[in-house]
Symmetry: C2
Subunit: 389 residues, 2 copies
Amino acid sequence: MTNVEISRLATKIRAVTGLTDSPIALHEPYFGGHEWQYVKECIDTGWVSSVGKYVDLFEQKLSEFTGARHAIAVVNGTAALQVALELAGVQAGDEVLMPALTFIATANAATYLNAIPHFVDVEYRTLGIDARKLADYLVDLCIIENGQCINRQTGRRIKAVVPMHTLGHPVDMDPLIQVCERFHLELVEDAAESLGSYYKGRHTGTFGKASAISFNGNKVITTGGGGAILTNDSELARRAKHLTTTAKVPHRWQYIHDERGYNFRMPNINAALGCAQLEQLPAFLAYKRSLAEHYMRALAEIPNVSVFREPEHGQSNYWLNALVLDERSTTSCEEIIEQLQAEQIYCRPMWKLLNELPMYRDLPTMPLSQSIDIERRLIHLPSGVKSPS
Amino acid sequence: MTNVEISRLATKIRAVTGLTDSPIALHEPYFGGHEWQYVKECIDTGWVSSVGKYVDLFEQKLSEFTGARHAIAVVNGTAALQVALELAGVQAGDEVLMPALTFIATANAATYLNAIPHFVDVEYRTLGIDARKLADYLVDLCIIENGQCINRQTGRRIKAVVPMHTLGHPVDMDPLIQVCERFHLELVEDAAESLGSYYKGRHTGTFGKASAISFNGNKVITTGGGGAILTNDSELARRAKHLTTTAKVPHRWQYIHDERGYNFRMPNINAALGCAQLEQLPAFLAYKRSLAEHYMRALAEIPNVSVFREPEHGQSNYWLNALVLDERSTTSCEEIIEQLQAEQIYCRPMWKLLNELPMYRDLPTMPLSQSIDIERRLIHLPSGVKSPS
């Protein structure tokens, strides 16, 4: 792309977002509902912390929205994923399959359990795990012993696979579920980015044993900082609540904890924000979908680029729109981002592949040709719900 | 104590707290300052999450109040202690000395680093670590090899000691610092309960390499959920901020993380609450001190009990007042708590000693005669700042 073409791109982004003369953030939250009312009630009644009605209400509303039988509100998405992996039986020394193309939290969460991330490739269609390529890889790499999948190279058990619904686009779950069944793997979805995204009509995060959602300030809805564990299993839900509240045994006064738990509960004041945000979620999703359509139309006439479109098997929340550079593009993402940021349009590249970071460099990794190519050709476009339509 | 005497105790508690005909919580937060103004500003501007001015302001004000050169706000006190231990160089397989008489978080935090809690006894005067008894214990147990303290029984390195300022009462630090020097141990204070408590005029949490404070809903001030790391070491402060913000390397757009960090930052909306609470902290401390004095006077005439008084070497924040049953008391804490709770006075016993919990039962432990006796004779009295004086 020439500088002139990048300038045209900038103009189009300004037209689509409606922000013609101000800096454009990548994402901004929008508080247009009952946020004040609910948060003020917490302050007025003194119920801001570990007990209060909004945590229960937020969990109930989240369960209703996603269709997951249970939702457990926690302090952030990373904590949610850590506990979801623990619920799925991931233990110290286990390997956990996950995309290399994901936010750092996916790998970090596994390491907090002393498990080992094992990086796999993603596909162009979804930006998520390529189940067919994974199956071919595992056939060569693993043996099944006593109903467990053993990595023949490392001798370690591979316990789980963590699909991440990248930018909100649903992973192709059916072939991945087949891989899980064939190789005796637990499925734990990293749905941090995909609240409001569906695979064949079913909400992401409701397929595996347990999954994780995030409500960080950059997500579709926010609680300031927060996350949730989703599960359809009542016993796992009970255990999730127990583990995330320091494993304290219910008693009128005694302090007895029966296992090592975590201080991961979401404060009531953050849940209050979440309740107000959830009420607006359908409107946010509609706005994000229309923003995606506007981007697609507006950028159609810019040569050598396109806007990433949700896969046919599902409905994306379009959390973040993405610009895809054509294979033939001789301009790098960096060059485009540099110029857009100079014009105060705060675009971002994809995350650096996790297997290229110093602390995760020596972990098991399958060939990542597609991830490498996608990482080098995608740019996150401003997608905040704050912008007027 | 007879039932009649316990009833008199209940009447006195009601008189002291001024809550004559309502349930009396153990502690309640009080929001009488700029809480709503600051929180509303977060909501109105959209800055509720990981970025915003209140996190910086809260850290600055906390640093000013405590005299610690640096304060780093995090998601809760447990996370703060985990990171403080990591900053002090605690590694997997190290032992960490800590009181058995403490809240579960002290031990949990060490285990998240795969370190091993090693329980030590506390003294009557402070309810905190008995440094002289600890020194005698370590002389027999340890050898110093290459400047490191090695537990001869387990072969493991003992890396750090974690004094916890129980109920806000400052541990006797001078002899403990001598133990640290003599046995090459790092000092990491668990100051979760002691914001506003001083040892010989110096704020608790400012003595060791790094320390942890909590702002849970039951603490002197609250942020809903939150904590902070204190340190006087600028390099450790920089590292604390880096580790608690996913170890992301500052860059205008790239996602590069150079080590395994944590998603532990405090959301801006919680920090806003904290800023308003900090402004009222001197008033809260004055109230708690006067509450303690009222308890001491009012309960003086009840036989076989007393109210725990701050040690002479420092000033306690009197976070929680405690009733001490006389050695000769034939009534158990449980009996008294049972009757008080029946009258809607929600007293609590001390925490169960950590070495008696199932997951920490087999860890190294010194003889705990004083802890056992204190645990069996102390009752937490209602100490909320909400109660009118």
